[in-house]
């Protein structure tokens, strides 16, 4: 009997690119540029892309072996046990919520430039409320909408970058000399943030016509993202002074204004809004479904497993996330410290990629007989390099930002303590309730 699985490769690529392509990416792109000399940011971005390709190969092997919407949680659980898997997943979801905070900060500032009659705080609440409403009603910004928006944003960015470079007459400052080795490593480390999310396409493994589409889609997406970001970042730094870009939360708008005037600003605002709505929607869906599944296995309070009887969406989890996202976004707006969240996301993402590489190694030894439709070539070289490189990159990011390091350590300790102390109690309570129900029945 055939399964009516529907998503084609085109949509897998669009989903992978779309999840990584956010308004806040340009803030990180400028940070990459600030670590290197002249207009050499493209080198660091392409190197970050190549490194993410190594991680994508590891994701592809795990996804082919165990295709599931549970993705990372399942692979880490099989490799290191359920406790480690839950701890890392909690931290990962926390950081994902943090990205929504950064994204709303950036997009609210862009909206204020174009439509200045509301303050950034009002824009934040309005946009998050809109996406929350979509989520509560079970509307997914996916499929054809996702394809259309992603490919439109990509084409626009490439055309704007080419036109911007042409306006600067292609005169670049030391495009092949990135400066110090230390600066370059830091640039590559922050460059990882630009690709954050390409792997979130893995949960679609249950919805594609061929599981191999996910592996191919991730690799194609990383390539497209690398080239687009590299071009656009060089165009930005060649036309606008780095100092001005670095002090702005909306560098892409500065560039668009300089290159194309008011029309460029409006078009960039439209692109950014579309990209942000996609990011919000994907972020809220991922985290709320994670909360639902975690509550169903009694690792979070059961209230988060409540589903709407009308739309079959986890409404308590979605509303809780709305409150947390608004609080976080307003906190970022108030303090202006969005780069801490960017660095935390880059570091956690690097740690997750390193763990994925390690999972490939562990599972090859632990479960050698499991069918692997995709096998990373070259023996253990790629997973080993993935572990080492991403471990070093995580350390490099955290070495530049003590606040991010402190927040991350605190987050990890909290998640570990929760898994060790609270989860067993929740499970025991659920077991007793189940027994009591059976006795009554």
């Amino acid at each position: 009997m055939a399964l009516k699985r529907v998503l084609p490769l085109r949509t897998v690529v669009a989903t992978s690119v779309g999840l990584a392509l956010a308004s806040s990416s340009f803030v990180a792109a400028v940070q990459v540029a600030s670590f290197v000399a002249g207009d050499a940011a493209w080198l660091a971005i392409l190197v970050a892309g190549v490194l993410c390709t190594l991680a994508a190969l590891c994701f592809a092997e795990l996804n082919g072996m165990l295709p599931s919407a549970a993705g990372l949680r399942l692979w880490l659980g099989r490799a290191f046990g359920p406790g480690v898997a839950l701890t890392v997943s909690l931290l990962y979801m926390g950081v994902l919520t943090g990205i929504v905070g950064v994204e709303s900060y950036v997009i609210s500032h862009i909206m204020v430039v174009v439509l200045p009659f509301w303050s950034p705080a009002v824009w934040i609440v309005l946009m998050l409320a809109f996406v929350t409403l979509l989520n509560l009603r079970g509307v997914k910004l996916a499929g054809n909408f996702q394809d259309l928006v992603t490919y439109a944003v990509l084409c626009s960015l490439v055309v704007m970058a080419a036109a911007g470079l042409a306006r600067g007459h292609g005169s670049l400052t030391t495009p092949l000399s990135p400066g110090s080795v230390e600066g370059f490593i830091r640039a590559v480390a922050v460059g990882i943030f630009l690709f954050v999310g390409f792997e979130w396409v893995a949960p679609l493994a249950e919805e594609v016509t061929e599981v191999r589409h996910i592996s191919r889609g991730m690799l194609v997406a990383v390539g497209i993202l690398g080239v687009t970001y590299a071009l656009f970042t060089v165009a930005m730094t060649s036309l606008v002074p780095k100092g001005a870009l670095a002090t702005s939360a909306t560098p892409q708008v500065l560039f668009a204004g300089r290159a194309f005037g008011a029309a460029g600003v409006v078009w960039m605002a439209v692109l950014s809004l579309a990209a942000s709505l996609k990011t919000f929607n994907a972020g809220l869906i991922s985290v709320s479904r994670f909360m639902y599944a975690t509550a169903r296995e009694h690792a979070l309070p059961s209230v988060f497993a409540r589903l709407s009887y009308r739309y079959f969406t986890p409404w308590v989890a979605i509303l809780t996330l709305f409150v947390v996202a608004v609080a976080l976004s307003l906190g970022v707006l108030w303090t202006g410290r969005y780069l801490v969240l960017v660095n935390m996301a880059a570091a956690v993402e690097s740690v997750v990629y390193a763990l994925v590489g390690l999972s490939v190694i562990v599972l090859r030894r632990k479960e050698p007989d499991l069918a692997r439709p995709f096998f990373v070539p070259g023996g253990m070289i790629v997973p080993l390099v993935t572990v080492v490189v991403f471990g070093v990159l995580a350390a490099a990011v955290l070495a530049t930002d003590r606040r991010a390091l402190l927040c991350l350590v605190l987050g990890l300790l909290l998640a570990a303590a929760y898994v060790r102390l609270v989860v067993p109690r929740l499970r025991e309570r659920a077991r007793r309730a189940r027994l009591a129900r059976r006795r009554q029945a």
Binding site: M1, A2, L3, P67, S68, A70, H298, A305, L307, A433
Partner: protein, 120 residues
């Protein structure tokens, strides 16, 4: 050693699931517009069943019938326990023993139905 359930035991659990569903008027009303075909297959014994949901009514068929919207695959013992409400689907799903293929919203709906029939 892994326990193995028979095809008849899986059939019995699935019948309990179908009866539980069809006794629940609220569930039937909620799923009136959710027409789906679910293939349930065991990995360790030759056993296939099809659950067909049409206009709110759930029926059980022997073997594979038609094109499935969802496939539920697991060991026979797990399937028997799962559809009898002895265990919740989340834990085996998260550790990879239970595989469910289909659209995410359909998977959540099926989980919801199981929650409504058997409780947490």
């Amino acid at each position: 050693m892994t326990k193995v359930a028979s095809h008849d035991e899986i059939s019995k659990s699935l019948r309990a699931f179908v009866d539980g569903y069809n006794r629940n008027a609220r569930l039937k009303a909620m799923n009136r517009d959710w027409n789906r075909t679910v293939l349930v297959q065991a990995t360790d014994i030759p056993s296939q069943h099809t659950l067909v949901l049409r206009d709110g009514e759930l029926t059980l068929l022997e073997g594979a019938a038609g094109e499935a919207d969802l496939t539920v695959t697991a060991g026979s013992d797990l399937l028997a326990d799962l559809f009898a409400g002895e265990i919740t689907p989340t834990e085996p799903y998260l550790d990879g023993r239970l595989k469910v293929l289909g659209r995410e919203e359909d998977i959540i709906r099926l989980d919801f139905i199981s929650l409504m029939i058997w409780g947490e």
